[in-house]
């Protein structure tokens, strides 16, 4: 019977392949591969009864990957992460996007979600404090006192858009504190976020710029810099020059019934996570309330 | 023909004006089947020369090459002692003194008829005073000047196109089957204008056609093309009376004869035309006594008889001598070439009749002519 079955199977397979003309065979193979992949992906989504959907601000993406890896090892749960700018993720959430948790790049948006009834205030806390850095791709451009910034000896200084990007706002506060805003105004080039500001500086189009310190710890950056063999120069902006960049996370209504959401919430407050976060270029608030 | 380069300085030295064309053009690769044109002729530098042949024989390619529109055409073109092209020199189309009328209407759609005429006039190398008015009058287009091409009929468009070509005052007028795209009634409408053109224009005209009728009416000289090669060339009357000319096989085989208008027979509405071998009665024509007429007689309209018997309805009979017989074993029809006076006739009869009547070279016969066309 088994043999018969195999023969039947083989002949069916042969008939199938011979009916597909040689010309179409690669395309048929490709379609089969794609549909198999699709099936596997869909199956994987449903096989884990408990999976967590997290919306994360882009600037935290490098750190988040390390955190998720650690969390998944500990719990064998599956975490699905969507990255985007905090503003976009916020807009998606209030329009019903299926996220359980939101890690914002600021404090304002999570608070707004609480106020709008999309989350509970008891499940909001500051998971990281962003640190601002003045960075240049040129290793001689910035000294410990950032004297070139202060003397105005540059054509462009890049920053994230201060209207909505927390690091952009911090950069403006810093320039204000240094009394440089008026003199530098026409030289400010704004990226929509710190990632773009980073790009402006990295490509050399802006001599220097304000970005998140965490960006200089990113994996991608290391690889790039090793290949191009430059490290640039930086000045870590003293905390006193700008108001703290509080990055809050909040458990959304959807996640409140999920045990895994609570688990992740607790994980983020724990020592392991705190240590990963602080090694990634953030400060960690000691005050958890 | 290796025409030496003749500059303008030699223009007057050479007495007879000719159009000397020696061209090769290969359409390899792209067009299938591959086609090549190889022509080496010297044409009269005045009057109408027909370039005759079936479609695909290379007529239009030859005309385009002479106009400089085929950059790949190699060889030489010398028109009335003016060098247009040789192995080292190529005068671009816009510098050749030509008027070109394309097969299909080619007026500029964004200009009115008069705009189209002005376009040509502005760029003419010389401008004879009063020519515009004369050309407009000859082509009968004065009432069409304000119209756009889209508001003209096919025949009207071609008349404007011809007028436009004339207004450049070319030294050579090239007409590429200007009637081909028109229906029969439009053709009839435009042919008189072409005849007027022939009488009035003092430029040599090359007229591409595959219609024996048009050639018979308009041309003085003819070259016959077949598969890109010249297979016959000469005065129209001569070429038409050559029986071995490849084109003279089908329906259109016939001769073209010159005659004189003799008398008028008003009670029968007939006219008498004198040929060198006798008179012909034809449908009444309006001409003055002594005027030259051109008469076309098709081979299929001639039957042969051994006696001068007068018991049939056929009016026209000419006594002839058989000077040649062409027959082919597998064909039912044979061609018989006849001489009457100084003129030649070609009759198409069955091979069976040929043998039944025992017709051979040198015999005297009567040619009964069923129909005659006055073509000019």
């Amino acid at each position: 019977m088994t043999n018969n079955g195999n023969i039947l199977h083989d002949s069916l397979a042969n008939t199938f392949w011979s009916s597909v003309t040689t010309r179409w065979r690669p395309i048929a193979r490709f379609l089969i591969c794609v549909s198999t992949l699709l099936l596997v992906t869909v199956a994987a989504q449903y096989s884990h009864a408990e999976s967590l959907k997290v919306a994360v601000a882009s600037n935290f993406s490098g750190t988040m990957k390390r955190l998720v890896k650690q969390f998944e090892q500990q719990t064998s749960h599956n975490v699905i992460v969507s990255y985007g700018s905090s503003g976009k993720l916020f807009a998606q959430i209030i329009h019903g996007a299926p996220f359980d948790l939101f890690l914002s790049a600021d404090q304002e948006l999570p608070s707004k979600l609480v106020a709008l009834g999309h989350a509970d205030s008891s499940q909001q806390f500051t998971y990281a404090l962003g640190r601002l850095v003045l960075w240049s791709a040129d290793s001689n451009a910035i000294d410990e006192k950032a004297s070139r910034l202060k003397s105005g000896d540059y054509t462009h200084v890049a920053l994230a858009n201060p209207r909505f990007a927390p690091y952009g706002r911090a950069a403006i506060e810093t320039l204000n504190a240094l009394g440089l805003v008026v003199s530098s105004e026409s030289k400010l080039v704004q990226g929509e976020n710190v990632a773009q500001a980073y790009q402006f500086i990295h490509s050399g189009n802006a001599e220097m710029g304000f970005i998140a310190l965490a960006q200089l710890y990113g994996e991608g950056l290391d690889r790039l810099d090793k290949r191009r063999q430059f490290h640039g120069s930086k000045w870590i902006v003293p905390d006193a020059l700008y108001s703290p960049i509080r990055q809050d996370l909040v458990v959304l209504n959807r996640g409140q019934a999920k045990q895994i959401a609570q688990q992740f919430f607790d994980f983020m407050r724990g020592d392991v996570a705190t240590s990963i976060i602080s090694k990634s270029g953030y400060s960690v608030s000691t005050n958890h309330d | 023909m290796n025409e030496p380069h003749r500059g303008d300085s030699n223009k007057k030295a050479s007495g007879i004006s000719t159009i000397d064309v020696s061209l090769c053009l290969d359409f390899g690769g792209g067009s299938s089947p591959p086609f090549s044109l190889a022509v080496n002729v010297s044409l009269p530098g005045a009057g109408v020369t027909a370039i005759f042949g079936h479609s695909g024989s290379g007529k239009t390619s030859l005309l385009r090459s002479i106009a400089g529109l085929e950059r790949k055409a190699l060889g030489s073109v010398v028109v009335n002692n003016e060098n247009w092209q040789n192995s080292t020199f190529f005068l671009p189309t816009h510098k050749r003194s030509i008027g070109y009328v394309f097969q299909e209407s080619s007026l500029f759609g964004h200009l009115t008829a008069s705009g189209n005429l002005r376009y040509a006039r502005k760029r003419a190398k010389k401008r004879t005073k009063g020519l515009s008015r004369k050309v407009i009058e000859i082509m009968g287009i004065s009432h069409l000047l304000d119209r756009f091409p889209s508001q003209l009929s096919g025949g009207e468009r071609q008349r404007v196109s011809i007028a436009r070509a004339l207004l450049t005052e070319p030294s050579l007028l090239l007409l590429d089957e200007p009637l081909a795209a028109l229906d029969i009634s439009r053709k009839r409408e435009i042919i008189p204008y072409l005849e007027l053109l022939k009488q009035n224009a003092n430029v040599p005209i090359l007229y591409v056609s595959h219609s024996v009728d048009e050639v018979a009416r308009l041309a003085d000289h003819i070259i016959v093309l077949e598969q890109g090669k010249v297979v016959a060339e000469g005065a129209v009357q001569e070429v038409f009376s050559q029986m071995d000319v490849p084109f003279s096989l089908q329906e259109d085989t016939g001769v073209l004869l010159s005659g004189t208008y003799k008398t008028h027979e008003p009670e029968w509405s007939l006219s008498r035309v004198a040929l060198s071998g006798g008179d012909l009665l034809v449908a009444e024509v309006s001409a003055t006594v002594g005027a030259d007429l051109r008469v076309r007689i098709l081979a299929k309209d001639i039957s042969l008889s051994l006696s001068a018997e007068d018991h049939s309805s056929i009016l026209n009979r000419l006594e002839c001598e058989i000077i040649d017989v062409v027959e082919k074993a597998e064909q039912s029809m044979a061609l018989v070439k006849l001489q009457t006076g100084d003129d030649f006739l070609i009759a198409s009869i069955t091979r069976k009749s040929l043998y039944r009547l025992g017709l051979v070279k040198g015999m005297h016969v009567w040619a009964q002519i069923k129909s005659v066309a006055i073509v000019q």
Partner: protein, 230 residues
Amino acid sequence: MINFSPEDISAIWLTLKLASTVTIILLLIGTPIAYWLARTNSKMKGPISAIVALPLVLPPTVIGFYLLIAMGPNGFVGQLTQSLGLGTLPFTFGGLVVASVFYSMPFVVQPIQNAIEGLGDRPLEVAASLGAGRLDQFFTVVLPLAKPGFITATILGFAHTVGEFGVILMIGGNIPGETRVVSVQIYDHVESLAYGQAHTLAGTMVVFSFVVLLCLYWFQSKRGGQWSMK
């Protein structure tokens, strides 16, 4: 009802200035390219067509990314502009013009190319037989006969530049009055949750685009093939 802030008005003005400049430049350099593409048998026709059409398929971020690098101080365009004493192009109006010219190129070249191809050889042959040289042929025959193609190209080139966002975001640096165009301004409004202002500007843009396209289709149906060779 419509209440634009001074920044919005500055962005609108800048956008119109950019689109007009780019359209004029594109007509000047796109026309010879289109003419060449329409009439050549060269083997380079394929590669050049592909380069011209690239912006149709590439995401604006890819174009912006490479333009940022190419026009930067270490890129080949940047080296060139620096050696000419022009500095570097990113974050300047000139930079936006260069990027937009590249990005909107197919929208100008293709309608003109199609229109010229549609004319065929005949009108040029006729003009040549009447004694018109190359340039004469272009201005007196090609230009008027292919006019609908040129008008379509102008409208599309202008509208597409107005609607450009991704590339400008990548190389503009969001400088008010210099590189902050309407689309970027709308993005800023949305990102900063100023939905009211975003609506005003975005709604204006929808109406503008609709009217432009309506004019285009109306024009095309009215003019469709009217001026052919007759």
